[in-house]
Amino acid sequence: MGPNALAQVLRQVSFENSDQNLLIGIETGDDATVYKMNDETALIQSVDFFTPVVDDPYIYGQIAAANALSDIYAMGGKPILAMNIVGFPECLDQSLLVKILQGGADKVKEADASMAGGHTVKDDEPKYGLSVTGLAHPNELMKNSNAKPGDKLILTKPLGTGVMISAIKGGLEKGGSENPAVKSMLELNDKPVDILKKYKINACTDITGFGLMGHLTEMVKGSNVNIKLNTSEIPIFDGVIDYAQMGLLPEGGYANKENYKNMVMGKLNVDPDREDLIYDPQTSGGLLFSVPGKIADKVISELHNNGVNKSAIIGAVKQGEQGIILS
């Protein structure tokens, strides 16, 4: 669902959560929910599934799993258990589902977690994803709502998977793992979390269907800060700007823009094509960290040296009115 419609629905539901151990619930729009088991262990829970983004069923399965696992990493946790969620049409060949599930199983294995079961329903089109459980120490949780003035923002994967998926669907790009955006969607977000755990970081989230601007909005509101986003520094997959100019912008990007553009307080010489992409819905997107300014360069070079080589500093956190300035 679009962010607007979803917020409208959720407003009408009363959630009466009184359990003190529910550390992160529905209120801050964080990546996953967190429940404190004891002083040493917090349980992290998340669920995510979607329709095919590429034709190859094995690649689709892997991407859907990487995308679902990402929510656990975004909280600073480690996934331990996963369960499949499947919608599948009766008219399709079952061998396709075998490949989708194999993709998911292989990704879960790569994440060192166990595939523990699942649930299937008959559906008009295939849908696949995971419900994932992870663990973290309650003191090491990475919330999205704790960015501090003086922080720098680090994004670990380029933007543009939404536009690229449109280009693939339109037959202008290949959907195999040789496509840099597909390769990126296949990558787990485990490495950056391992690296960033050594540092004192203030906030973290992963970029999903709400786009970079959706997640920055949550960060701004939850942390009560102002963010300056340097659009020219944001890494974007090759070819994506051309495709965006051609009108291969997915509907979700328009919905995100409609919903989050009112957070923009000012613009300074922003390339309009890059501006479109900060609203692009991401599948299995990167992590966005808010780290103290003085360690940002060190963090980036360590990320680069450990294979997270597209990561970049894309903005800064300031004191001030809640909003985002684009430059």
Partner: protein, 190 residues
């Protein structure tokens, strides 16, 4: 003109269909049933250098008429570069102000008679007063626009001179688009 009924088609099919038709026929009339598809098809037309008009026909339906794609191709074909006229001041040359004003008016009024026509005219700094204030100049620019000359005016400059509401012709542009045009084009700076 080739007609495309792209109603009921999921994104990105309307764009892909239109692209194929444009490449073959140079023009197209496209019917879509949602705002997103209409915006995307419009973007495609502009990206391909064609002229696009978007009409909202009913609550959901939009009609896009895309023309002159081949003409744009042909025009650029001569040197491969767009001809850009960059006007940075409301006066032409250095000297008496009154003379400078007369000369710049004459310059713009003459532009419509030259061959080949420029592809773009960009106004910056005090130059932005020209598409806002003088009726004769505005009419000449409107005529140029009818002949596919793009008239762009620097938004920051309009804002500075408090003229944003007074712009009579062409579109407001930004530094990126302007620098990009100057960088890629064959530029005559005034």
């Amino acid at each position: 003109m080739e007609k495309i009924d792209a109603r009921g088609l999921d994104c990105p099919k309307p764009v892909i269909k239109t692209k194929k038709v444009l490449e073959e026929h140079g023009e197209a009339e496209v019917l879509v049933d949602n705002e997103v598809a209409a915006e995307n098809v419009k973007k495609l037309g502009i990206k391909m250098g064609a002229k696009v008009t978007k009409v909202k026909e009913s609550e959901e339906n939009y009609k896009l008429v895309i023309t002159d794609f081949k003409k744009a191709e042909k025009k650029r074909g001569q040197t491969g570069k767009e001809k850009v006229i960059f006007i940075k001041s409301n006066l032409l040359g250095e000297g008496e102000e009154e003379l400078g004003e007369i000369l710049i008016r004459g310059f713009i009024n003459t532009l419509k008679d030259i061959d080949p026509l420029p592809n773009k005219i960009i106004f910056m700094n005090s130059g932005v007063k020209l598409p806002c204030e003088n009726e004769e100049v505005i009419n000449s620019l409107k005529e140029l626009e009818k002949n596919d000359v793009e008239v762009l005016t620097c938004g920051t400059c309009l804002d500075y001179y408090n003229l944003e509401e007074k712009l009579k012709v062409g579109n407001i542009s930004n530094m990126y688009e302007i620098v990009d045009s100057l960088n890629k084009g064959e530029v005559l700076a005034i």
